[in-house]
Amino acid sequence: MRLATMAATLAVAASAATAQELRVGVQNMAPWLDPGRDFSNVGSQFYVNSFDPLVGKDNTKAESVWQPGLATSWTIVSPTTMELKLRPDVRFQNGDPMTAEDVVFSLERIIKATFVPYTVRKRDTLPNLASVEIIDPHTIRVHASRPEPLFETLMNTQQTMIVSKRYIMGLSGKPDAIEDSDYEAFALKPMGTGAYRVAEFIPNQRLVWERFDGYWGPKAPFARVTVTRIPELSGRITALKNAEVDIITNIPPDQLDLLGADRALRVEGMVTPLFHVVIFNTQNPKMASAKLRRALSLAIDRKTLNEALWQGKAVVPSSHTYAQFGPLYMPELKTFEYDPAEAKRLLKEAGYDGFTIRFDTAAAYYTNGLLAAQAIQEMWAAVGVKSEIKVDDRWTGGDADMMARNWSNPMYFPDPVGSFGIMWAPTGNAATEGRYKPDAAFEALWDKFRYSTDLAARKDAYAGLMRWISNDPPVLPLYQPYESFAMRAKIAWKPLPGHIPYVLDFRAGRISVVGN
């Protein structure tokens, strides 16, 4: 008994949270951290605390309200040129001053990428940017190839956060040259201008931040933040109840009541700017009929899926649109609907002969993914479509035999270009992988939408794109999932609607400890 009491005392002493330290239990930790290169939901949780973009944003609001970031002001000099005034006296976390050379380097390592992982980001995020020019030590110009309506948006993305040229060059090989190995080394020792510096990073395991006292903005509220990977849900919940951690991530909806009932704990959640979707391989001859795919879309009762799987907390969209798009948020578009009678009619017209449709899904990658697939199988059966579920953790999006599968379409930046476009533009992921082929009409509409600097013209073109998608669907957004977090009752924190999905923002004003 004495041993037990001693153990208890030690456990409590070891786990007592101070105002100085925040301890976070996450489901997954990233294998490397480089904001320019990263597109994953795991790494994206962390960058905002350690890196800054040129153009800042009020993340408490869903729509984009731009604020000074590492640039204090900017002007759109011409449709293809943006000029930015750099904030003076910004220091990197190693003490070096941030210079115009660093800014050019940060952007051009992607715009003019030679390192293969960056070339991928050039293609999907910054294809229209051509070069960056230094006007004077505190002024730069970003040049685009074609008129660019999204300059502010692009200068606010995770991919364009600013890094240090000198630091990266010195990480491996020759200290005055940029080599691929420098980028590899940087991804293991990330360093930026943000409010917290990475004090320790153990890939796939642990990330420790310490307050960066030389930060140009409001000082970080915690001296230290420890983020530990606790892969099992039960492990995360136990660690939280046992006060070993202060916040945990990835709580499925069925646990919310249980955790909410504990007075020592609190739950927070938000509908995430991300769609769980069903996609079709329009290039598989079996799936070529647009009528068949429309029927498959119309047969899915997404409202029931939401109520059964998400306790009604998810949001079923009428179109591929998010509130985060601001003026381009268009819930009035009715692109995707539920109409089983129409589905049956279309199936007859399509001449569906009863062949079995293969529906691919990962076992546990998407919350409720497998359950949704099983429910969809039943809904298709109800209109007379046979299907089989193939559970496989591999990505089969580029597989010519794939017919249908689940996927997610996150919002990478707050514009349809940064969500619908990343996946479904003529040069987007789906077309590049060869499972979807937009025609000339779609390409013309896309061109107008992507490069027009007139808002009304962009809205009109997007409505046209959605009509095209509705008539010949390669995708059906099911719902925007409701992502939940649990924390000790004394922690005041919540996910913010102005971020991309899953971001854990622990900067000043975003989190506080009650009683401190």
Partner: protein, 305 residues
């Protein structure tokens, strides 16, 4: 003796070579890391560039040759996921996994053998039956169930022990207890049976007859002779222990070697998996060599020839 050591070393190396080759082929024949690592939305050219970036564009023979060249030079390659030396990845994780395994082995020996002897000596008393019953429970309960029960009681309800991580000695209590439960139970049963065999032998009666104290008979004549099968079983159980640790490390968020190997298997992270399997195989082979040496220490009739 030198001949024995040389032969034994050769056999160990041959075993390692066979294991490495089987693993090298098996992981390549059953999946491709490209399916897991490739960023979505790449065209054919992009895919080719990424495959070259991971060094997976070489044919099988070239990969096999460079794998052995690397081993010979002590360079085990870069992990495909983490893009840093495999030896560095393991250095961070192997220590705490090996500590857990060693601790479990010590607990198993320290508790299993005495309880087994007790169960044999008191075989006709309630105490002996009680020990056997508890051993039966430890043997029957799956380790992940026991882990969750312990978490529920000692972390979630009583808040006595930490549930996740491996930073203090308190973090070792529940994982060791969980992992040891099965092996203690197994060892109790083996020791008891071996002791019962030995205690029925003529030389035990002789030892009693010549007036030795019961403790001396039990330990010097009984236990020492019973230990040979017990040590053999213990050696064989080390491999099972490693696989048990994989589950336990996940439940207790240990971020150890088992967890690393499961992730590497799922994603076909060739360099990590190859190094990990070789490391585990080396541990098992080394333990078996120790078992052989233990025979010599326990039984004077055994010679190294």
């Amino acid at each position: 003796m030198p001949r024995f050591v040389a032969l034994r070393l050769l056999r160990m190396l041959a075993t390692l070579w066979a294991i490495a080759t089987v693993v090298f082929l098996a992981i390549r024949l059953t999946g491709n890391p490209i399916d897991y690592l490739m960023p979505e939305g790449l065209d054919a050219e992009g895919r080719r560039a990424m495959i070259a970036y991971w060094g997976l564009d070489a044919d099988l023979l070239t990969q096999y040759a460079s794998f052995w060249r690397g081993l010979a030079e002590g360079d085990f390659g870069l992990g495909l996921m983490e893009r840093r030396p495999v030896s560095e990845i393991f250095a961070e994780r192997a220590g705490r996994s090996l500590a857990l395994l060693s601790l479990t082995l010590m607990v198993t020996l320290g508790i299993g053998v005495p309880l087994g002897v007790a169960a044999a000596v008191w075989r006709r008393r309630a105490m002996g039956s009680a020990v056997l019953f508890i051993a039966f429970l430890g043997y029957a309960i799956p380790n992940f169930v026991l882990a969750i029960l312990l978490l529920l009681v000692f972390s979630a309800s009583l808040n006595w022990l930490p549930s996740a991580g491996a930073t203090t000695w308190l973090h070792y209590v529940m994982p060791t207890a969980t992992l040891a439960a099965y092996f203690v139970a197994a060892l109790v049963r083996y020791t008891r049976n071996a002791m019962l065999d030995v205690l029925g032998q003529d030389y035990i009666r002789t030892a009693h007859a010549k007036g030795l104290s019961p403790a001396a008979v039990l330990l010097r004549h009984g236990l020492r002779n019973a230990l040979i099968p017990v040590v053999t079983v213990l050696g064989l159980q080390v491999a099972t222990l490693v696989s048990g640790a994989v589950v336990i490390e996940t439940v207790f968020a240990w971020n150890g070697m088992g967890d690393l190997l499961v992730g590497a298997t799922l994603r076909r992270d060739y360099p990590v998996l190859q190094f990990g399997v070789l490391l585990v195989a080396s541990v098992v082979i080394a333990v078996n060599a120790l078992v052989d040496l233990a025979y010599v220490a326990i039984d004077p009739r055994v010679r190294l020839v």
